[in-house]
């Protein structure tokens, strides 16, 4: 168990860096879920739990520096506990949330206490010491790595046993209820997306996407392609009004 906990913790550290630096998004649950699954020897559950958590976090993105519930720790804890406690991947969501919220607060704190660094930089700039500024800037990554590693390691290494006996003592309808709740949870991610994206002139597309998927077998990529085609049509439609186009015509 120690090895697994350590590996997961190291991965959490890497993902924690990627969340603010690099931003390749290997820190999203769809990737971390799979990696945690690999480490714990249950690839399938990892993949599915990761995908489920991904959907919940869909609208929870950092806008203008505001931190949503932490996607790195949420994704990793959710998947790890779902596998270790042998639960339905959908239960992962209910497990992930408390961790994610706690870390959300911690990161906000971190960004606050990191402010004095700017004044150090001011002084280095005065002396045009670019090397020092380089190191000072990059130092933040170390902090994130250590922070995430520790946060991920402790509960997995020390908490699983307790959680496991707790879960066993719970009535089955409770765990099944959590699974039902997990299935409903993506509604929150989507609704959050809607609060930011939905303007009245775009309602048409929300409706169309819903109806097309409900009444056909199209995949999401197929839907995205169709939507792209429509967006292209719309774009050129707005660009070249008929009158103008006609003027350039032949004969």
């Amino acid at each position: 168990m120690f090895t697994e906990a350590l590996l997961i913790a190291l991965w959490a550290g890497i993902a924690g860096i990627d969340q603010f630096n690099g931003l390749t998004h290997l820190h999203r649950p769809i990737v971390t879920g799979m990696v945690v699954g690999l480490i714990l020897g249950d690839f399938q559950t990892g993949l599915i739990a990761g995908a489920t958590l991904e959907l919940v976090w869909m609208g929870m993105v950092p806008l203008a520096g505001a931190q949503p519930p932490n996607v790195v720790i949420g994704g990793i804890m959710g998947t790890a506990f779902a596998i270790l406690l042998d639960q339905d991947p959908k239960v992962a969501v209910s497990i992930a949330v408390p961790f994610a919220v706690a870390v959300q607060g911690a990161i906000t704190l971190l960004f606050t206490v990191y402010s004095p660094v700017m004044h150090k930089m001011d002084r280095y700039a005065e002396r045009s010491n670019d090397r020092a500024i380089d190191w000072l800037n990059l130092s933040g990554m170390g902090v994130l790595f250590i922070f995430n590693t520790i946060i991920a390691f402790l509960p997995i290494y020390y908490g699983v046993e307790a959680a496991s006996s707790l879960v066993e003592s719970l009535p089955s309808w409770l765990m099944e209820g959590l699974s039902v709740a997990g299935g409903m949870m993506p509604a929150i991610g989507f609704a959050m997306l809607l609060t930011v994206m939905l303007k009245k002139q775009y309602t048409a597309f929300l409706i169309a996407g819903f109806a097309i998927v409900t009444y056909s077998d199209i995949s999401l990529l197929g839907l995205a392609i169709l939507a792209l085609a429509f967006a292209l049509y719309d774009f050129y439609q707005r660009e070249t009004p008929f009158a103008k186009e006609e003027k350039t015509s032949g004969i």
Partner: protein
Amino acid sequence: MAFEEQTNTRTANADQPEKRLSRTDLMRMAVRSFFLQSSFNYERMQAGGWLYSLMPALKKIYRKREELSDAMKRHLDFFNTHPFLVTPILGIVAAMEESREKPDAIRGIKVGMMGPLGGVGDAVAWLTLLPITAGIGASIAMEGSLAGPIVFLLTFNAIHLMLRFGGIFYGYNTGVKALQKLKSGTQAISRAASIVGLTVVGGMIASYVKLSTPAKIPIGKESFEIQKELLDKVMPNLLPLTYTLLIFFLLKKGYSPLKLIGITVLIGVAGKYFGVL
């Protein structure tokens, strides 16, 4: 607007040696931009990472110590934009520094661009590109296929890298002229992104929100399955849609996502307990 004057200023400096920055310099700036948020903090946000990313240009342009120190201090002001779209700003600012534009002009452009590009970037990258690629990846992963995360990482980063590396050259080569193009392009791109994004969100509501009722009403010996014989007849996915819209209106009314997660857990558990979910 001040734009015209700046362009004039620039032309006036035509005796200055222009285009001293090499392809490599620009590439290095783009690579450094990956660490834009390494010293992120709530006092000046990405200011440290901005200076760090701009450094290769400043060092090339300002050979004298005092000049360099001056420039570095100027670039430690508050800065915040979308991390994928910082490179066009880096490019323009580098071009302006190179032709020795007035510090105020440079600051103006920098501040004038960071806001709109932050907004567009959030709309396009965080709220459209991410949900679509992650949604598609999740739809593949849900079937247990490794292709899910891979497709996600490849498609997401294809666009990510294109923005970063395309942006720096675009910004540097087009200079302040880029601003006007950005202005008209931004609107069209946001609209197209919204069309695709919202269509896919609509589709995801239908395929990912799982909510149905096993409740039956007994009629004599037979029983009337509410889900199959009523709700599905009216419209499949009626409950998922309704629940999503409900959450949406509660969010609009000011409920926090956290509270709604709590409520959802309660509904799920209670629904199971009473056999209606």
